[in-house]
Point group: C2
Chain length 445, copies 2
């Protein structure tokens, strides 16, 4: 295999790539509404502008009281408190905005004093001055007063100010993927938009043999006016391949927080490839190509890219996934990047995982023992795909093991859809034995 | 707390709910294009209509040969094979559809015979009759013939028919969530649409104190024409709460494969609540409400729903999450369901996880030791939220532990955004001790 540069180690390739991604993402963000930012990556730390709750809330239905008033209350020693209602507030009208008929919380200047109690519901603000809530089950209500049958200590049955968040707390860390609970917290403190990392990414597959999935099932006109349908028989006879890499990369990017665009695939023609690269780079920050990475007569992608910019690496001592490249192209005064992934689906998926996904969405890891030996090569980083297996030991504790998947070659996509994760076997290691503890990166479901 | 029915165990509630979900989802699906089915749930087993690859493919650039012809070939014993090119095919024209200038694969009737070799590229079909590929590095090319310097065994450097999928293999199982690798496989065998589980789900929050997040920052008109802005100070004074539950549930449902619709929140008014319930059920299969689940003066949701249909349960011996209900309503001859979740965000999230999400997207589990004691109650299922902690032992193996999060009450959302998972502590268990091995359900990131 003829590479335009010497092969480098995976660690070096990762370092080069991540340094460029650092530069690229430094100032690339977009503000998304809360309802659109799920599973996107936060551009910066998001700080809470307020305490949450911002007031002491009742955790129960009952009466808010001053705890000291009811110390020692019991069935045999009920304590009497005078009922006081909130006045309806004069200062606020919520109807027009919130379609509410009355403000049940009351006068903002209201302060509870000793000997009094105010009726509250679960989740409502307790009045200033009160510091506990007696559950309604411990109260007997009369017209003007209540009898309390159980004492409460300070802050009993109260959700305290700042219990969820303190003003200044970090709600989401820079680089964190936004989940539904983050969104609940953000909404709760009045944050409506979030800056998310935003990259425009285009995907291009190359190859004479490609057929687009949209054309599957359609008619293929032939020279002799013999109409044939593009079906699996047609594909068999013509040696065509349906372009699945573009869609796979688009979905992998979606799961990583990016809405990428797939472009129509292009044939193995240098001029056409060059034209596509330039067009795609004109409207994207990153181009990801698949196909055309080994060096045969048909592999023009690297050649064309090396004429347009700088190839930072071409080929990694990695298996599967050796034929991969990364380049930097100056396009109308902006630095753009091209990932040149393998045409083999599994190699492309692994290259994407190790050189892009890992930067934005590092996977959780587990250290697990192997169920069998696994050979690898010195001087090359091997990617071992595994399934997680549960076994019970003599103590009937169930333990988790990593079972390497048996696969041949790098074309076998089903090894990825059935794998639970993978391990990175360093180039200095010749293999592992059954029972060795390995760090497994877990695929998210 | 007054419940309309007796509290039941979590196991019973789960059983009742899942049986109804079985009935509901029996025939509810929608066909999605491949590009839209990512992270949706497959309605049925999807079977491969073909082998993949459907032809033997070259794994290298080189020459496809009959392996027996080159046994024993070496530098000192090169074997000569006559070159034969594929004819360009007459039977197929791909231009109009795929913009290709020529078919590089050739005549479908071509068969390689002993003594001949055909040039191939990585990923292309090898001709009938050949059964191996010699890498170009082991070949010296001349005009009409090649010299082969290294032997190959049968199927060396060949991706075999059916290596990825055999016709009849299950690509995606019924109920499985569709991932990018599934989509690559589906496209590769010409499948363009997938039946995914499809439920129309509406979300409604109830509560006088609610403010919608869209209105945050807008002006609030008051009776005295004193314009105030709806900000945290306003919220503090009025005891309002921003509706975050609706958006949280919508996001949780999105992650579960469903595109739910949030409706404007409604105040604690029986007639209005009833109207909303009926309107939402008229255009949805399931309604999820939050708020209004404990029984105070303000909690009308259960009351209104019990007038419209059958309450299957109201209250589970569960903490957090006790006030939850599930009901069945016949609406214009169709059975619809209402989940009545707590108004407390964490309780609602946990109820959603245990009674809906678990049905469609069961989480991975790990058995891990606890880092400290954890008390629970007999007669009640407790949900313990945990963080995963790595510790090194004396053998410098790093082991994983589950650390229970310290939280008070069920209002604290940050305990969910910082939790890695949870454990379900059975109602028959009084607690666990440090070191006990517990099954942890892992939140996906």
């Amino acid at each position: 295999m003829k590479f335009v540069k010497e092969l480098i180690s995976y660690e070096d390739a990762k370092k080069i790539t991540f340094e460029e991604l650092n530069k690229l993402t430094k100032d690339k963000y977009k503000k998304y509404d809360l309802s659109d930012c799920l599973n996107k990556i936060s551009y910066e730390d998001v700080i809470s502008p307020a305490d949450l709750p911002i007031f002491n809330k009742s955790a129960m239905d009952g009466y808010s009281v001053i705890a000291e008033d009811v110390f020692g209350a019991s069935e045999s020693n009920p304590i009497i408190l005078e009922k006081i209602e909130f006045k309806e507030s004069d200062s606020v009208e919520l109807d027009k905005l919130n379609n509410l008929s009355k403000n049940v919380v009351g006068d903002e200047n209201f302060e509870l004093t000793n000997g009094f109690a105010t009726k509250v519901s679960t989740g409502t603000k307790i009045p200033n001055g009160s510091n506990a809530v007696v559950m309604k089950e411990y109260v007997k209500e009369y017209d003007d007063y209540i009898e309390v049958y159980g004492g409460v200590h300070p802050f009993e049955n109260v959700s305290k100010i700042g219990e969820d968040l303190k003003k200044g707390d970090v709600i989401i860390k820079k680089g964190e993927m936004i989940n539904p609970y983050h969104i609940a917290l953000l909404a709760s403190v009045g944050i409506q938009k979030i800056k998310c990392v935003y990259l425009k990414i285009g995907i291009l597959s190359t190859g004479d043999e490609l057929i687009s999935i949209e054309n599957y099932g359609k008619e293929a006109n032939n020279k002799n006016d013999e109409i044939k349908k593009i079906d699996m028989e047609y594909i068999h006879k013509t040696g065509s391949i349906i372009n699945s890499n573009s869609l796979m990369l688009k979905c992998l990017l979606k799961n990583c927080g990016f809405d990428a665009k797939t472009y129509p695939h292009v044939e193995d023609n240098p001029a056409k490839i060059k034209k596509c690269i330039l067009e795609i780079l004109s409207e994207n920050d990153i181009l990801m190509t698949t196909g055309g990475t080994s060096v045969g007569d048909r592999d023009y992608t690297f050649e064309e890219i090396s004429k347009l910019g700088e190839i930072l690496y071409h080929g990694i001592k990695l298996r599967p996934g050796r034929p991969v490249g990364f380049s930097k192209i100056k396009h109308t005064d902006t630095i753009k990047y091209v990932y040149i992934f393998s045409g083999y689906p599994v190699a492309a998926a692994i290259q994407f995982e190790l050189l892009f996904n890992k930067y934005f969405k590092p996977l959780h890891t587990l250290n697990l023992p192997l169920t069998r030996n696994f050979a690898s090569s010195l001087g090359r980083t091997d990617i071992m795909r595994v399934k997680l297996i549960k076994k019970s030991d003599i103590n009937t504790n169930s333990k988790l093991f990593a079972e390497p998947l048996r696969i041949s070659g790098s074309g076998v996509i089903s090894s990825l859809s059935s794998a639970d994760g993978y391990a990175i076997i360093d180039e200095n290691i010749e293999g592992y034995e059954k029972g060795d503890i390995i760090t497994i990166y877990l695929f998210k479901q």
